[in-house]
Symmetry: C2
C-alpha cells in the first residue's frame, strides 16, 4: 500500500475525531530503543526505518523530522510528494506545528508514546500559541493499520541466580529500601529492561533486546505489581519471583495505576511515559520525580554477572576470530563478498555458540566508503562489495544468556595505504590510552573521553560520536547511566559497569575506522595512596596488525598490544580448530622490538 493511501486513511480519521494534526513518534508504549514490528507505527506511516524520528500529519500536509544521521536515508525512504523533510533538532516538530496551524487548532498525541517531560513542555508551547494538545490513547495509526502484524507473545525466560548473581527478592528489598529513603512509598519501574533485571526475567519478543515487555510498581516492602500479558509468564514464574509479585494484565493496568490514592510514587519523567504518570496523578497518587531507581544498581554488575560477561565474550571471540580468519582466507583467494554475505557469515559463526540468543543489534557491515557513515545499514540499499586495497568495518554483537557483547574491528582488504594506517594507529592509540586509564572515585566518562581523542586531536582530526556507551547483562546493548562522551555525564563510573571503548575516524566518501572493545570498571589492585579504578577488557579479538603504523606507537603502547594479544591467543586459541589457531597465532604475534 503506498504511503499516500495510508495518509489518506489517517487524515479521514483525523477529521472525524476533530483533530488538525497528529504526532507519530518513533516509539512504542515502552519507549525503548528497539521496537517490535507490530509497533513500528512511524515506519508504517512513512516508510522510514531509522532508529529515531517523528512525523506530523496535518489535514493538508505532512512533515518528517530526523536527525543528522538520517538526512540522506529519509529522502530515499519517504516520498517527497507526501512529506516535507525537517531536521529533528534544528527545526523541531513543535516549531513546525506553530508555523502551520491557526489558533484553536487541535493536535492529537498518544500519551503512551511520549515521556511526561516532553508532553508537559509541548503542551505549554502549544498553549502559548492557543493550540490544544489532545491526548488520545485510541491510537489513530492502529485503527488504520489493517494488516498490522500480531504481537510476539512468547513465554519469558526465568533467569537463574547462577546467571544473575542475586535473587529478585534481594534486589527488590534493597531497591525498595532506597525508594523509601527518597521519601516515596513506591516507584514506577517503567523501562522493560529495569523490570526484567529486577525480576530476573528475560523476554523473547523484541529483536536484539531480551526484555519482558511490561511495567511495574515496586513498593518499599519489596512487593511488586507487575503489568504484563499473562501469556508471557512461564510456568514457575511465581516461585521464581516470590509470592509478593502480583500479576495484572495490560487491560488492568489503567485501573491499577489509577487507584493509588495517597501514595507517593517515584517516577522518572524523562524515561517513563506520560500515560502511566498521568494515571497515577489522576488517581490521587503524588508523583516524586526522580531517576529510575533500578538504573544504577543494574549498571553496576555483580561478580556473577561479570563472570558471565567474560564467559560470553570468550565464546563471542571464538566466533569473531573464526570469521576474521575465514575472511582473510577468502580475500587471499580473491573472493570479495558483499556486506550482506559477510554479516550473514558472521552470524553463522555466532549461531553455534553456547547460550547464543541472537544479535544484540543490527550488524554494521560496511565496505569502503560506506563505513564513513557511523550508523550504516546495508539493508537500506544494495549491499556493497569489498574493494581491493580498502578497509572493511564490522560492528556486531550477540545476546547470550550470560552476557551481551558488542565489538567493532576494522580489517585490511589488500593494502589500504599509509594514510589509513596512520589514522587507524591514531584511533588505536586513543583506544589504548582509555583502556589503560586509572582514575579515582567520582570520575565520570566525560572526564576520560579526551584520552581516546587526544592523538587524533593532535593531528587535527576528531570523530563525531561518543567514545563509549553502557552495556547490559543479557539486556540492552545500550544502557545508562554510564557513558564516555563529550556531553556531560554526571554519574561517576563505578566498579562493575560495562562500557564500550570505541574511538573511530571517518572520512566522507572514503573510509571509516573504529576500534571497539567492551570493558568493565574495576578497582585497581595494589597499595596506592587513593583507591583507583581502571578498565578491564572483556573483548578478546586481535586488532589488525596490517593496519598499524609502528612508527607512531611508543614502547608502552606496543607492550599493551602484545600483552592484549597474548591474552587473546592464550584464551581463545585453544578453543579454535587447528587452521584458525594458526591464523590467530600470527594475528597475535608480538610486535615489540625486544620480544
Amino acid at each position: 500500500m503506498p504511503t499516500a493511501t495510508r495518509l489518506a486513511a489517517l487524515r479521514q480519521l483525523l477529521r472525524s475525531r476533530g483533530y488538525d494534526a497528529l504526532v507519530i513518534p518513533r516509539a512504542d508504549e515502552h519507549l525503548g530503543e528497539y521496537i517490535p514490528p507490530h509497533n513500528e507505527r512511524l515506519l508504517w506511516a512513512t516508510g522510514f526505518t531509522g532508529s529515531a524520528g517523528m512525523a506530523v500529519i496535518l489535514r493538508d500536509g505532512a512533515g518528517i523530522f530526523v536527525d543528522g544521521r538520517y538526512t540522506v536515508q529519509v529522502r530515499q525512504q519517504v516520498p517527497a510528494g507526501d512529506f516535507s523533510y525537517h531536521h529533528l533538532l534544528e527545526e523541531p516538530p513543535v516549531e513546525w506545528l506553530l508555523a502551520c496551524l491557526q489558533p484553536g487548532a487541535r493536535v492529537a498525541v498518544d500519551p503512551r508514546l511520549h515521556n511526561l517531560q516532553w508532553l508537559r513542555e509541548t503542551e505549554a508551547e502549544l498553549a502559548a500559541a492557543d493550540l490544544v494538545l489532545c491526548l488520545d490513547t485510541d491510537n489513530l495509526v492502529d485503527r488504520c493499520w489493517h494488516d498490522r502484524p500480531a504481537a510476539q507473545v512468547q513465554p519469558a525466560l526465568l533467569l537463574d541466580e547462577s546467571h544473575t548473581g542475586e535473587s529478585s527478592v534481594s534486589k527488590r528489598n534493597r531497591i525498595g529500601a532506597a525508594v523509601k529513603a527518597l521519601g516515596a512509598d513506591g516507584a514506577l519501574i517503567f523501562a522493560p529492561d529495569s523490570v526484567s533485571w529486577l525480576l530476573n526475567l528475560r523476554g523473547r519478543d523484541v529483536p536484539c533486546l531480551p526484555v519482558l515487555q511490561s511495567l511495574a510498581l515496586l513498593w518499599t516492602d519489596g512487593s511488586v505489581d507487575l503489568m504484563v500479558e499473562p501469556a508471557r509468564m512461564p510456568t514457575g514464574w511465581q516461585q521464581h519471583c516470590g509470592a509478593n509479585v502480583r500479576l495484572h494484565t495490560p487491560a488492568e493496568a489503567e485501573a491499577l495505576l489509577g487507584t493509588q490514592a495517597g501514595k507517593r510514587v517515584l517516577a522518572d519523567p524523562v524515561t517513563a511515559n506520560a500515560w502511566s504518570q498521568q494515571l497515577l496523578e489522576q488517581g490521587g497518587a503524588t508523583l516524586v520525580a526522580g531517576t529510575d531507581p533500578v538504573l544504577l544498581p543494574k549498571a553496576c554488575k555483580n561478580a556473577v554477572e561479570i563472570a558471565g560477561a567474560r564467559a560470553a565474550h570468550v565464546r563471542d571471540a571464538v566466533a569473531v576470530v573464526r570469521f576474521l580468519a575465514w575472511l582473510d582466507g577468502e580475500q587471499a583467494e580473491g573472493r570479495l563478498y558483499d556486506e550482506a554475505q559477510l554479516a550473514e557469515r558472521l552470524l553463522d559463526f555466532r549461531s553455534g555458540a553456547e547460550h547464543f540468543q541472537g544479535p544484540s543489534f543490527d550488524t554494521i557491515s560496511a565496505a569502503g566508503s560506506n563505513a564513513a557513515m557511523c550508523h550504516y545499514n546495508h539493508r537500506n540499499g544494495t549491499p556493497a562489495r569489498l574493494q581491493p586495497d580498502s578497509v572493511y568495518l564490522v560492528d556486531s554483537g550477540g545476546q547470550y544468556i550470560d552476557g551481551t557483547t558488542d565489538i567493532t574491528r576494522t580489517v585490511a582488504i589488500g593494502d589500504p595505504g599509509a594514510e589509513v594506517r596512520r589514522l587507524f594507529t591514531l584511533v588505536l592509540k586513543g583506544h589504548i590510552a582509555l583502556d589503560q586509564a586509572r582514575f579515582p572515585k567520582g570520575t565520570t566518562g566525560t572526564h576520560l573521553d579526551v584520552l581516546a581523542r587526544q592523538y587524533l586531536w593532535r593531528e587535527g582530526h576528531d570523530y563525531d560520536h561518543g567514545t563509549g556507551h553502557g552495556v547490559g547483562a543479557f539486556l540492552s546493548v545500550h544502557e545508562g547511566p554510564q557513558r564516555i562522551a563529550k556531553a556531560w555525564a554526571p554519574v561517576p563510573l563505578q566498579p562493575g559497569m560495562i562500557i564500550s571503548n570505541e574511538p573511530g575516524y571517518y572520512r566522507d566518501g572514503a573510509f571509516g575506522i573504529r576500534c571497539e572493545n567492551l570493558v568493565v570498571v574495576a578497582e585497581v589492585a595494589g597499595d596506592m595512596e587513593k583507591p583507583m579504578y581502571g578498565l578491564q577488557a572483556l573483548t578478546l579479538v586481535p586488532f589488525d596488525r596490517r593496519l598499524l603504523d609502528l612508527s607512531l606507537l611508543d614502547a608502552r603502547e606496543l607492550q599493551w598490544l602484545d600483552t592484549y594479544h597474548a591474552q587473546v591467543a592464550g584464551t581463545v586459541g585453544p578453543l579454535l580448530p587447528a587452521a584458525e589457531q594458526a591464523w590467530l597465532q600470527q594475528a597475535c604475534a608480538p610486535l615489540a622490538v625486544d620480544s
Copy 2:
C-alpha cells in the same frame, strides 16, 4: 574590643529592630572575591579572616559556617565561647536557622550582600517553616562598627586603548547589540570587573583587584548609566568613556534602578545582588535572567590585551627569576629565611618593574609541610622558616597596567629526596600534557582536566583542587567562565582566554608541590582537517631541574622542557644582571640526552 562585646552590641540592635536572627555573609555590596577593609563585616563580627564563610547571630547564640579549607583556621580565630562551628555546605546556615528558631521568628539579611538566587531560595526555605526573611539595608554591623575604617576613594585610572585594544564605545555597541538579540532593552552590569572592562577604567581601592567599585546599566544603544562615587572619576573620564555615559552617585542608584518601568533588563541572578534586581522589579522593570553579557567578551582577550599580557609576564619573569636566583645564593650560604621574609623579598623584586601596581593576590609562601595546605597564608600565624632538604612552594602574582600574572614554583631547599622528585615529576608531566593539548572548538576545561591528572592517577595520587582558573587583563586573577576542573564547565575554551595550568600534589604534614603557568588559548597554525586550539605559555620562569626524576620523563617531555627553558633563557636572560644571567643559563640548560 573582644568579639563578645561586638556580639552584645549586635544583639541589642537585633532586639530593638524586632529580629530573632541576623545573617552576616563574607561579602560586600559588590559580591566580589576581594573585599576592602571597611567592608570586612564578617571579620569584624567574628575575627575570621578566610575568603568564604557566613555567620548567624541569634538572640542567645551564634554560629559560624566555613568550608573544608578553613575548619582548622576558624577554631584558631573565632572564640568557641561565642560561636558554634559548622560546615558551610554540610550543615548550611539555613538548616541551622530552621533547627534553632520557632515559627514566626524574623531573620534579618541585607539584600545588598546576597545574590538574588540565594535570597529567593532562602526566603522559600524559611517560609516553609513559617520563618520570616526581613530585608534590611540599614546594615546592623555598620551601625555597631564605630571604628570602621573609611572607604578608600581614589580616582580611577583611564586605561588607554593602547592597553585595552578596543574603545569603550566599541565594546558597549557590540555588547549592547548582543543584549538586544536576547530580547532585552538593557542589562544590569553588576560585577565591578565587568563595569571596569566595559568602560576601560581601573580602580585602586581594593587590595589585589584593580576594579572601579561601581555598577551600571548598559542600554542596547551603547549608552550607560554608571553608579559610582563621583570622587572616583578622574578628570577626563567623560572624554575617555564617551558622551553617552551618565554618572549617578551611589545615593542616586536606588532611585535610578527603581524608575525603569517597562524596560526589560537582563540581569544575572547568581552574580548580581538581590537589592539591585529587586529595585528594578519593584520599579516596574521586567528582569530577564541570564549570564552577565560582559563575562565572555571580557574573557576572550584581544590581540592588544594578549600582547600586554606577554609583556607583563616578561617583566614578572625577570622579578621571579631574580628572586629564585637570590634564594639559591642564600641557601648556598646556609641562610634559610622565614616565609614572610621570602614573600617580602619577592615583592621587592616585582616592585621595581614597569607598570607594576601591586600583588594580584596574597602570596602563598609556604615552607615544608605548610605547603600541604593549598590556601596557606603565613600571616595567620608565625611564619615558618625554610628547612634543609625540603621544598618551598611560592604562589604569587602581580597586577601590571598591561596584564595580570599568577605563577607557582616549587623550589628544592637542599635535597628533598627521591619521593618528592617522583611526585614533582608526575605533577610536571601533567602540566606538560595540558600545555601540549590540542583540542577542537567546543572543548571545555572539564574535558582537558584529566590530561593534567593522568600520571598522578596512574600511581594512585590526585590533588583536591581545580587545574586552572581564568585570569583577567589587569583585572581579577580569578575570572570566568573559563576554568579547567572536574566540575562541569559548560562554556567552551575559546581563543584569547587566559587560564592557569596548575596541577599539584599535597602530602599532609609533609610537603606540597604545584607547577603553575598562565597560558592563553590560541588557534594552532598549520594545515589541519579541523581547526584546532592549543595553549601557549605566558609565564617564563624555569621549573626546578633539581626536582626532576629524569627516568619518568619521555623524549617528548624532555623536548618540551628544553624548548620551554630555551624560550625562557632567550627572552628573560638578556634582561638580567650578569650574575643572575649565569644562574638562569644553568637553570635552563638542556636536559635531553642527545642535546
